[in-house]
């Protein structure tokens, strides 16, 4: 911190909220969870460390001791994702010991919450600069590992036990919105694969990937520099063949949902003042964020109330949002959002680089991936003033963050 000494008692001081900017974001390539995945045998904390180190290399004007906190999210916080992973990752990354860290959990929105939490600290004046990210090695930590749901959920019918299985909640969403058919979700999934393949071909994904060296028994070291999950060239015919593991004759398949994945992300946030002082780039300005709860049985609808809340706070309408990065836990969940706001399934504002159905969704890490991609799209498209990152969250929640594009002509002027 480089705050001047307070001259008046803090509680009496008129405190102004400070602008928070997204400076940079990186991620490891995502891998498939399991013994054959690229990160089988590797540690989750090592993946985070590589992201943090790359952030520092990419932003050499930032003195590491100026980082005020490191918030790293993980859904399962045991083993290589335990031990207060934000602090351990900071130490393992070689940050000065004066830099603290903590762990954070909001399931799929872990990294997103790490961002909003540290951003709040920056806005409040507690931090100048923070690192926020997330990791999930679902090979090392299968979903729900070690969970011990309270029996009251069942006995008092607080939550349908089936709602603890995300696939079931996606099927439930189909029930609620009969207009969202399997044909629509499969078609959406095919477009997600195609958009990601196009983004790769145009080198839009690679600049923000941190290559990770890995070694498997009997194979020697190699370098993982691209995502493992994508299946470019996937067709609706391919997807029609897949079984529906959550219900006989159901609609949710491995093809129209995100997979089980390993990966890590990290982002650098700063107050606008500190970014200017330290010569750090401003990739996005934080406008508003909101979280909302919904019925756990249809957790996929969570982004809708979260978005409404965030828009309200920002004084914006959905029509003001020029770019959407929505996490594709399930195609049905994305389509329920789009239908609610009257946006077409193939609207070009939505997930320009494809989404989690193609690239994967290592739970607590994904939020920062959305932001990193939105930041790059802002650069590519200065005509867009506002963008949104949003995602659904297990146990019935949604999270939305609205960002402003610093490359837009009106940046810095108050919204109409």
């Amino acid at each position: 911190m480089s705050q001047p000494a307070a001259t008046t008692p803090a509680r009496a001081a008129a405190r102004s909220v400070r602008d928070v900017v997204f400076v940079d974001g990186v991620r490891t390539p995502f891998g498939k969870a399991g013994d054959k995945g690229i990160y089988a045998g590797m540690r989750a904390d090592d993946l985070v460390v590589k992201c943090i180190r790359d952030l520092l290399r990419r932003n050499p004007s930032l003195p590491p001791e100026r980082i005020d906190d490191v918030a790293i999210a993980a859904t399962t916080q045991t083993g290589d994702q335990g031990l207060t992973i934000g602090r351990t990752a900071a130490l393992l990354a070689g940050l000065p010991r004066t830099v603290p860290g903590f762990a954070i959990d909001r399931m799929c929105a872990g990294a997103l919450t790490a961002v909003t939490t540290t951003a709040s600290g920056i806005a409040f004046g507690a931090y100048d600069v923070a690192i926020a990210g997330g990791v999930e090695h679902m090979g090392n930590h299968p979903m729900g590992e070690g969970a011990d749901p309270n029996p009251r959920f069942l006995s008092e019918r607080l939550v349908d036990p089936a709602a603890l299985n995300m696939g079931n909640t996606a099927e439930n969403l189909h029930d609620r919105f009969p207009a969202i058919t399997k044909d629509r979700t499969d078609a959406y999934a095919v477009r997600s694969q195609a958009k990601l393949a196009a983004a790769y071909a145009e080198n839009r994904i690679q600049p923000d990937l941190v290559p990770v060296a890995g070694r498997k028994p009997g194979e020697g070291w190699t370098l993982h520099s691209v995502d493992e999950p994508p299946r470019p060239g996937t067709t609706v015919e391919d997807l029609a063949q897949l079984r529906t593991p959550f219900r006989p004759h159901g609609r949710v398949t491995a093809g129209n949902a995100a997979g089980l994945n390993d990966g890590a992300t990290a982002a650098l946030l700063a107050s606008a003042d500190s970014a200017a002082e330290l010569g750090l780039p401003v990739r996005m300005l934080l406008v508003a964020y909101a979280f909302a709860g919904v019925e756990p049985e249809v957790m996929g609808i969570g982004p809708v109330p979260a978005t409404e809340k965030a828009l309200r706070q920002a004084g914006l309408g959905i029509e003001d949002i020029g770019l959407f990065e929505i996490n594709e836990a399930f195609a049905v969940q994305v389509l329920s959002f789009l239908d609610h706001f009257g946006i077409a399934d193939d609207d070009p504002r939505v997930n320009r680089y494809g989404g989690a159905i193609a690239v994967g969704h290592p739970l607590a890490s994904s939020g920062v991936r959305l932001m990193t991609q939105l930041a790059r799209q802002f650069e590519e498209d200065p005509s867009v003033r506002y963008g949104m990152t949003t995602m659904c969250i297990g146990l019935g929640m949604g999270a939305t963050v609205i960002w402003e594009n610093p490359h837009h002509a009106d940046y810095g002027q108050d919204a109409a």
Binding site: L92, P211, A213, E219, G220, W221, T222
Partner: protein
């Protein structure tokens, strides 16, 4: 193909643990093309270092041949080599090299290394070595043969230790290293470090002298090495210029620098080893010749040297001493009871506050990190002892060997008392008082009156009977000998003496303590002067005897030079202190009779307050002053150097034979370990018994060899 001619050699080592050359294609960042990444991996965990045997080298060579073909087809843009975690590759498989009995096979092994390594310079694409961990000897020579090197700050154990082992860096290292780091640094790496307790470099040091072109931290060492390699392959001007500038800096040397480095190396070898073993000088022969030779010419000379040295007894003795003794037997002492029997030691008492006792206090407090209380007969001595320890802690703090917190902790652990009551709650009390049985027995009786029945009583005696010391105690089973060597912090040996009544739990605790104290313990039976002092005593006796008989000091003291001992006998005696030496000699004489010569002349020197025979005059030359000579009465039958050496060899063979017959230690290996760890005798003697065997002394005296 070209490696077929080595198949016969590989067939000699059917059980080699092969370090495989695993190849993965890596897409270099920035579109710099495909890099074929070789991982050297034996499929074992980090406790089993990767090594280089014939099968390994053939696989490595053939892998490189395959990559050369791919390179010619334009499929790859670079080749790089790295290792499994913690190792690039540890080095040649010494057991295998030692097992090659025929010179032609040694020669083939030497040629095989060149055949494989030289490919790294002719692949048609740049070659890289990413030094992630240990790279010794042939391991480092792989890296030196590559076009470019990166090294991890986490890498430890880098070096060319061949001169120490008894070989030469003859897989191109002796030729390539000076051309990378300059002659002075090369001689440091190839001569000074190996002959300084086999010192090694870490990654930062290796980068610092120019062995590597780039240095990266371990957290993403391989990723950064690959990114760097990509910049080199792509011809990134900043990267390439930085490499060239660094290399130019290290290699701005003249012919005269090269000659000076060689001369300095020769002087170093003479000072450290007396040129007793052939390998170090051979390294410098190659180094000197290499100044003007082509790489091919040097390779031929290297192969000749390697093949010859592999046959030398010095090499074989060193491998025995290094692998069998230092790496194995020192870690698993023969005869030590089950470690599970060991009892915890939570407080230590030291009787005495003299120099030896104070050193023990420091060692116990630093390593065990438990309270250590010392006692002596008056407060002044106690205060002096504690003050000594505190001052030593401050020195360690000053040298940054201890943190401030650790220094505070260590000082707080040390206390002193004039009353043995302070030992009441100690688990282990060691005495280091005057070497007199009556005094020691009284000390033990007083301590026993205070401590618990289980408290161990240890003695640091160097010559008295541990058995006798325990006789009158209520619990003689608690007594054990714990014989350190001076200076305590530097000498790794601890002779643990088992008296007939010493029980297993006490002995097990003693061994556990030795391990915590980071000492190498050898179990010895309760015999006068145990092992090291008895062997040294017999040697001192022979040399003082020929001197007393009329041999001049120069001849007597230098007769053992061919053995390459760290110090001549008279100089060692002066260092130990003539009175101490004389005391040990007298007790050995009392125990064993005239085998141990007690020099009346030496007593005269002691009486006259003379500290040693040799005195440095104003010109810096060491002579025996006339005034010293005038004190002594010596005979008129001098012996020649050769006679003295042979006599001493025979005396040592005789004494060691007796010690083994008496069961003082379990095996000749323990004798060898003791003289290496406790007297610093060189590895190329194999300690001592391999030397006595090969010089014929064991046959002459015992009619058979020791091993």
């Amino acid at each position: 193909m070209s490696f077929e001619r080595f198949e016969e050699l590989a067939g000699l080592v059917p059980n080699e643990i092969v370090t495989h050359s695993l190849v993965q294609d890596v897409a270099l960042p920035g579109g710099a093309g495909t890099l074929a990444l070789i991982t050297l991996d034996n499929g074992k965990d980090h406790t089993k270092p990767t090594t280089l045997g014939p099968n390994t080298l053939i696989e490595f060579g053939r892998t490189l041949e395959g990559l050369k073909e791919r390179s010619s087809r334009g499929e790859i843009a670079a080749v790089a080599i790295t290792g499994k975690p913690y190792f690039l590759v540890a080095g040649a498989d010494l057991s295998t090299v030692k097992s090659l009995k025929a010179e032609k096979h040694g020669r083939a092994m030497a040629e095989l290394g060149h055949a494989a390594y030289d490919l790294l310079g002719s692949l048609g694409v740049p070659s890289f070595a990413f030094i992630n961990g240990v790279a010794l000897g042939g391991g480092l020579e792989i890296a030196l043969a590559a076009d470019y090197r990166t090294v991890s700050t986490g890498a430890n154990g880098l070096g060319l230790p061949e001169a120490f082992i008894g070989l030469v860096p003859g897989w191109g290292g002796v030729y390539r290293l000076p051309r990378l780091v300059g002659p002075a640094s090369a001689v440091k790496v190839m001569i000074e470090n190996p002959l300084s307790n086999n010192r090694m470099l870490d990654g930062s040091a290796a980068y610092g002298i120019g062995i590597a072109d780039a240095l990266f931290e371990p957290a993403d060492f391989l990723e950064q090495s690959l990114a760097w390699a990509a910049r080199v392959v792509a011809g990134d001007p900043a990267t390439v210029q930085a490499v060239e500038a660094r290399r130019a800096g290290f290699t701005a040397y003249s012919d005269a620098d090269w000659d000076a480095a060689a001369a300095a190396g020769r002087a170093f070898i003479q000072a450290r080893t007396g040129n007793a073993a052939p390998a170090p000088s051979r390294v410098l022969d190659l180094f000197e010749a290499g100044k003007t030779l082509t790489r091919e010419q040097s390779a031929e000379a290297e192969c000749i040297a390697l093949a010859e040295l592999m046959q030398t007894p010095e090499f074989h003795a060193t491998v025995y001493a290094f692998l069998e003794l230092v790496q194995k037997r020192a870690k698993r002492p023969a005869g030590a009871p089950d470690a599970k029997l060991a009892r915890p030691v939570t407080k230590v008492g030291v009787v005495g506050a003299g120099l030896m006792a104070s050193q023990l206090v420091l060692l116990f407090a630093r390593q065990l990190k438990v309270p250590v209380v010392l006692t002596d007969i008056d407060q002044a001595r106690v205060d002096k002892g504690v003050a000594y320890v505190h001052a030593e802690v401050d020195k360690l703090l000053g040298k940054k060997k201890l943190s401030q917190d650790a220094a505070n902790r260590t000082k707080a652990l040390v206390s002193g008392s004039v009353s043995k009551e302070a030992f009441a709650d100690a688990d282990f009390v060691i005495e280091a008082v005057f070497e007199e049985m009556g005094v020691k027995k009284q000390v033990f009786a007083e301590v026993e009156a205070v401590v618990s029945p289980e408290c161990i009583l240890a003695t640091n005696t160097s010559s008295l009977s541990v058995t006798d010391m325990a006789t009158d105690l209520a619990h003689p089973e608690r007594v054990v000998g714990f014989h350190f060597f001076n200076p305590v912090a530097a000498m790794p040996l601890l002779e643990i003496v088992r008296a007939p009544k010493t029980d297993d739990a006490v002995l097990a605790t003693a061994f556990a303590l030795a391990k915590q104290l980071k000492k190498n313990a050898v179990l010895v039976q309760d015999a006068p002067a145990f092992v090291v002092n008895r062997i040294l005593g017999r040697m001192f006796g022979e040399i003082t005897k020929v001197f007393d008989e009329g041999t001049d000091a120069e001849t007597a003291d230098n007769a053992l030079r061919p053995m390459g001992l760290p110090m001549t006998p008279f100089r060692l005696l002066a260092l130990v202190g003539l009175p101490v030496g004389q005391h040990v000699q007298e007790s050995l004489h009392a125990a064993f009779g005239d085998r141990f010569h007690v020099s009346a002349n030496q007593q005269k020197l002691i009486d006259a307050g003379i500290k040693g025979l040799w005195v440095r005059d104003e010109s810096g030359r060491e002579t025996v002053p006339e005034s010293t000579l005038a004190l002594m009465e010596r005979g008129s039958s001098p012996s020649s150097s050769e006679e003295i050496l042979r006599r001493t060899q025979d005396a040592l063979a005789d004494e060691i034979g007796r010690m083994l017959d008496e069961g003082v230690v379990a095996a000749p290996e323990d004798i060898d370990l003791c003289v290496i760890m406790g007297a610093g005798w060189p590895m190329h003697l194999g300690g001592i018994t391999p030397y006595l065997d090969r010089t014929g002394a064991s046959e002459r005296v015992r009619g058979r060899t020791f091993r």
